[in-house]
Every structure is written in C-alpha cells, then in structure tokens.
C-alpha cells in the first residue's frame, strides 16, 4: 500500500477509536466531568497520567535534544521523572483525601481566601495556556508531514477530535481516551527503537543497548559515538558541556523541572480520579512505570540516531575517507528536505556531503576533498524521532504508527491541559467565586462551555503562535514551580501558613520568576527588550531563566512563612482541616459531598 494511505488508515483508525471511547464515556454529573466519578483504577490512571504528561515535546523533541546535547540533556530526563516522587510523597495522597475538584479549590479553601483562589487560577491559566500552544502546533506539523494537508487544516481536525471527547465526556472521556493514546504512543516510540537497537547492538532493549557494544566497531556504543564526534570536531557526548550548562545551572534546572512537574495542575488533577488515598500513592508509581518505558528509551534513541546519521554521511569512517555522495543519500533526506527541517548545500561542489563542526578546530584528516564549510546546513533535531523508522529502513506501517503516536502524545496532553483550564474557570471562578448558588446542571453547562471556549482559544493560539511558543518550558515550569507547588505543600505540611502569607508567597514567586524570565528573554518575549543575555556567562549568578523557578519557589516559601508568623494565626477549623487531610481515614466520605 502507498505510504500516504497507510498513514491515513493508521491515523484515521486511531481517531475513530478515540471517538468511540468518547461516546461510550459520556459524563452525566459534575463529579464525572471533573474527576471521572473518582472510580478510575490506579493502573488505568497511571497510564492516563503518562499520556497526559508526555507531550508533543516529550515524544517528538526530547530524543533529538538528547542526541545533540548528550549528558547535559539529562536534566530533562531526571527533572521530568523526579517530579513524580514529589507528587507521590508530598501532594497526591493528601489532595485526593481533601477531595476537591480542582487545584485552586484546595488553595482557596485551605487558605480561606478568595484572593488566594484567584491567584491560583491565574497561575494555572498562564502555565497551562502556554503549554497548550506547543501541543496544538505539534498536531498541525504532524498532519502536514504525514497527511499532506496544510498545518491549519490539520490543527482544525485535531481540535475537532479533542472537542468531541472532552466537551462530551470531560475528565471521564479524557481519561479513557488517554489510556488508548498511551498504548498508541508507547508502541510508536518503542517499536522503531527496538529495531534500531537490534541493528546497532544486537540488544532488543534500547535502554540496555545504549550501554552495549556497537556491532559496527566492536567497542562500546558510547565510546564509538564520542570518538566519531571528536573526529568531526564536535564536543564529547558524555561530558558536561561547560559552555552550555554549568553544574550549578544544571542542578537548579533539574530541580525546577522536578518541582514544576509536581506543580503542574493538569497532572495533579489526574490523581483526583482514583477511589482511595492509597490508590493515589500507588497510581503515581504506575504513572512513572509507563513514563519510564519511554524515558529510558529516549536516551538510547538519541545516541543511536546520532551515530546512525554520522555513519550514513561518513560510510567509510572519517579518516581520509570519502563522505557519502549526495546523489546516493537515502530517500529520507529528500523527504525531509521538502519540509525545510533538513537542508543540504554542496559548498565545495564535490557532489559529496561533508558534515562536521566548523568551530571544531583543525580537521586535517577529514575526508579527501577540500572542506568549504559544513554542508548539512539545517538539521532540526525533531526529525530524529519522526524519521527514525525511515533512517532505520523500517516498513511503512512503522512510519504510520510513529505519525499516529506523535498525534496521540499531542492530543492527550492538550486535552488534559484544557481540562485543567476549563474546570478552574467553571468551578473556581463561576461556582466558588461569582455564583455560588448555581445548580449542578448549570455548573455542568458552564464546564462544557468553558471547555469549548478553551479549545477555541487554544486553536487560535495554535494558528497564530506567539513568538514565545518555544519558551514554554521556562514559563510553564517556572510558574508551576514558583507558585503552585509551594502553596500546595505549605497547605499540607504547615498548619501555620495563613491566608495573607500564602497570597504574599505566591505573588512573590510569580512576579520574581516572570520578571527574571522577561529580563533574560525580553519583556513579554519581545526580542530586543531583554537586559541580560540568557547564557551561563551573561545571566545573573550564572542562572539561566529556565532554571530560575526553584529560586522563585524558595522565595515563595520564605515570604509565606515570614508573613504568616507576623500576622494572625490560622483559625481552629483550618488547623482541623489540615489534620484531616494528613490522615487517609475517611476519604470515601469526602467523595460523597
């Protein structure tokens, strides 16, 4: 079958599956709409959380990021998994016990304060909206490449599918589609990786293959990779790249990603759907199992793809040998050149492709022709995962599967984010702040309306992505780390932090983090308005803006404790509430409210 029709069948089939699930999992009450009726099995919830969590960035970009920055990119691997330890130990069980529908609801109730609730809604909306832009553009790109429609048509189709199952089914519909999406994406990610690992190392498990012997050289894969990179003038794969990230910066960046992960509302609300407190703890473990399957594979995909590409371009080695002839390059070069993500320029006119690092110093022994500059002029790291099956010459159905997997990753995360946004609006803004007398039916209508509106906004942002779309990591994780995570942990672990302290703390964390990011990335990300370069040397104390969230969190804690101890103690009933949240007993009763 033609590749186009194969892609169409696999992608269309996966979409049909999501729609069938949506019709089956309709929501009839606010409890079903917000928390899937709190009846989701912990393993199921783990799977749904994994899909919710793994975004277009995890699926498409992470392996490419690792391939081109090696050890330094470990911050993402540790940061995006270590957050689950914090969730399981510090947040999920207690928030499940409290039994709220949304994250701002806990903050508003625990700190008995409408301003606290509204600040939490604000932080949630900023963090989630910036995050959703990347998902929507990801869907558009995947459609454009694999189904040859325009980016915007692809985006509309994706948005329509999400609209269908999230407006109809709320959290219930989203949960079960996310389970299906996880299955699609995990196969799409691991199948090509297993084939490549077998080809390169003979080991069927990519995570083990990474530390095995490379069959092409008889040496360990990473040793060969480092040697080949050195020949081409690139830095070592396994060493700390000091110009890119210092030890201090890497530590703070990892910590920011960890506490940011634990503080992202769309992940937290997934733990509201399990029946018991003990299920919430266990479910975090299952979520990490399902995430780890992909995250232990990603570094292998990165290293192996990098080596594969260099071997394709320098088939006879790098020592006084010919580079590959441009005429005879594999067909995937042509495929990806048309998308603009890959670019070749025969600078020295010898008909061969010399790929090396121009800034890498004297490379006398490289190739046989006179070098006139690196000829692989464009190579977007995102290609690595999407072109992986083609690079490894895998059958057409694997290519189609990767396309469906990329879309599953983007759609599942988009739905989770939209759920977090719409429930904060209908429950915290309408029900708990503006119109407390609203009936359940009325609130459910608002919930569906808010979801539809959020999808419309996200689609518009996907069509007109603001210049800062690429900065979401800094903004979303920074805000979640500096505002939501500290507020939640203080609400559980301290009886003393009061309304004034919490609001002062959150505002300090929010303003400090956002201003620090704007000082380094430009005010509202407008180029040219930044005061400091966002590099290790140029930034304040050598801390890049992506790593600042944990400092914002520390300030949040400090200000909240200082202000609380200088103001009135928390009322007795709040102390009682905190005591109650800490003990699992009686979580079933909380559900019945």
């Amino acid at each position: 079958m033609d590749q186009y029709y194969l892609n169409l069948t696999v992608i269309g089939g996966s979409f049909l599956l999501y729609i069938i699930i949506a019709v089956w999992a309709r929501a009839g009450s606010t409890s079903e709409f917000y928390t899937a009726g709190r009846g989701v099995h912990p393993v199921m919830n783990g799977m749904a959380t994994a899909a919710d969590w793994m975004s277009a960035a995890s699926f498409i970009s992470m392996a490419g990021l690792i391939a081109f920055s090696g050890y330094t990119a470990s911050a993402y691997l540790m940061g995006w998994t270590g957050g689950y330890v914090l969730l399981a130990l510090l947040l999920a069980p207690y928030l499940r016990k409290f039994g709220s529908f949304t994250v701002p609801e806990f903050i508003g109730d625990r700190f008995y304060s409408r301003p606290a609730r509204l600040v939490a809604v604000l932080c949630l909306v900023i963090a989630s909206l910036t995050y959703v832009i990347g998902q929507m553009t990801g869907v558009g790109v995947a459609f454009a490449r694999f189904l040859q429609v325009s980016n915007s048509t692809g985006l509309f189709i994706g948005a329509a599918v999400v609209f269908f199952y999230s407006v109809l089914g709320g959290m219930k519909g989203i949960t079960y589609t996310q389970v299906a999406q996880y299955v699609v994406l995990v196969f799409a990610y691991t199948v090509p990786a297993i084939f490549i690992s077998l080809q390169l190392t003979g080991n069927p498990i990519p995570g083990l293959g990474l530390f095995s012997t490379y069959e092409g050289s008889g040496e360990p894969l990473l040793t060969t990779l480092n040697a080949t990179l050195a020949d081409l003038g690139f830095g070592s794969y396994t060493a700390q790249d000091e110009s890119f990230s210092s030890i201090l910066n890497m530590t703070l960046f990892t910590l920011t990603l960890m506490i940011g992960t634990a503080g992202l509302p769309h992940v937290i609300i997934r733990f509201f759907t399990v029946p018991k407190v003990s299920d919430a703890r266990l479910s975090a473990g299952w979520a990490l199992v399902f995430i780890a399957i992909v995250y232990l594979t990603a570094p292998a995909v990165g290293a192996m793809a990098r080596l594969n590409i260099m071997d394709t371009i320098w088939p006879n080695g790098t020592e006084n040998a010919e580079a590959a002839s441009i005429e005879e390059l594999p067909v995937w070069f042509d495929n990806w050149e048309t998308t603009g993500l890959l670019g070749i320029e025969d600078k020295n006119g010898d008909g061969r492709l010399q790929y090396y690092n121009e800034a890498g110093g004297a490379l006398d022994n490289l190739g046989t022709s006179e070098l006139a500059g690196n000829e692989l002029v464009t190579f977007n790291p995102d290609i690595l995962v999407l072109a992986n099956p083609e690079i490894a010459q895998l059958p057409g159905w694997v290519v189609a599967l990767v396309a469906a997997g990329g879309m599953a990753a983007a759609l599942s995360t988009a739905a989770g984010l939209l759920m977090a946004i719409s429930s904060a609006i209908s429950h915290d803004l309408i029900k708990r702040s503006i119109n407390p007398g609203i009936s359940e039916k009325g609130e459910l209508m608002w919930a569906r309306g808010a979801m539809a509106a959020a999808i419309a906004v996200a689609t518009w942002l996907g069509l007109n992505p603001p210049g800062f779309a690429a900065q979401t990591v800094a903004l979303a994780f920074g805000i979640a780390a500096a505002t939501i995570f500290p507020a939640l942990t203080m609400g559980i672990f301290s009886r003393r932090v009061n309304n004034v302290g919490a609001v002062a703390g959150m505002l300090t964390g929010l303003i400090f983090t956002v201003v620090y990011i704007f000082l380094h990335k430009g005010w509202f990300f407008i180029p040219g308005t930044e005061s400091f370069p966002d590099t290790i040397e140029g930034s304040f104390f050598g801390i890049q803006s992506t790593a600042i969230g944990c400092i914002g969190a520390a300030l949040n804690f400090a200000v909240a404790f200082a202000v609380s101890s200088a103001t009135e103690d928390t009322p007795e009933e709040i102390k009682e509430m905190v005591e109650n949240v800490r003990i699992p007993r009686g979580a079933g009763t909380a559900t019945a409210h």
Partner: protein, 107 residues
Amino acid sequence: MNNNPRTPAGRSDRTPSGSNDTAARRSRDHDYWRKNIRIILGCLAVWAFVSFGCAILFRPILSAIPVGGTDLGFWFAQQGSILVFLVLIFFYAWRMNKLDREYGTNE
C-alpha cells in the same frame, strides 16, 4: 461538594464519641504523621542523592567507575536515577499502607 469553604471536606470521619477517645486518637494521628514525615525525609534523601548527587555533583568522584563505555555518573543521569525513583515510589506506597494498618488510619 461542600459549598462552605470553611468546612473541610472529609471531616465527617470524627465520631461523636467521648472526649478521651478523641484525645487518644488525636495523639495516635500525630504519631502517625511524625512517622510519615520521617519516611518522606528518608525517601527524599535518596531521591536527591541519586539525581543531584550521583548524576551531577559527585559525578567527578564516580568517574573512575566504568559503565558500558562511559562512567557511573552518566548512567545515573540517563537511567539510574529514573529506576531509583520508581523503586522509591513503590516503596513509599507499600510502607504507608503498612503504617496505615498499624495506626488504623486506612480507608
């Protein structure tokens, strides 16, 4: 859901029994919480040791230990810490279930 923000959810588990019973339960609940905090701190120490310790700060010290073509610190950074995180969460879930049974705080 509860409409009054001042009334904590899940409060109904307090039975209207004698004040002595309540005081005894309260002190057991406080004990339970202290033990929980100790377990959390232990787990977080391991969490920080493998990720910030082995993978970043102590990597130079561990660089002499080879693992599959590179060093132990690199392995911890790209694989080891994720595996330890997994063990930590399941250990915590198991340990807390046990503690819940001991203190009768389970659901």
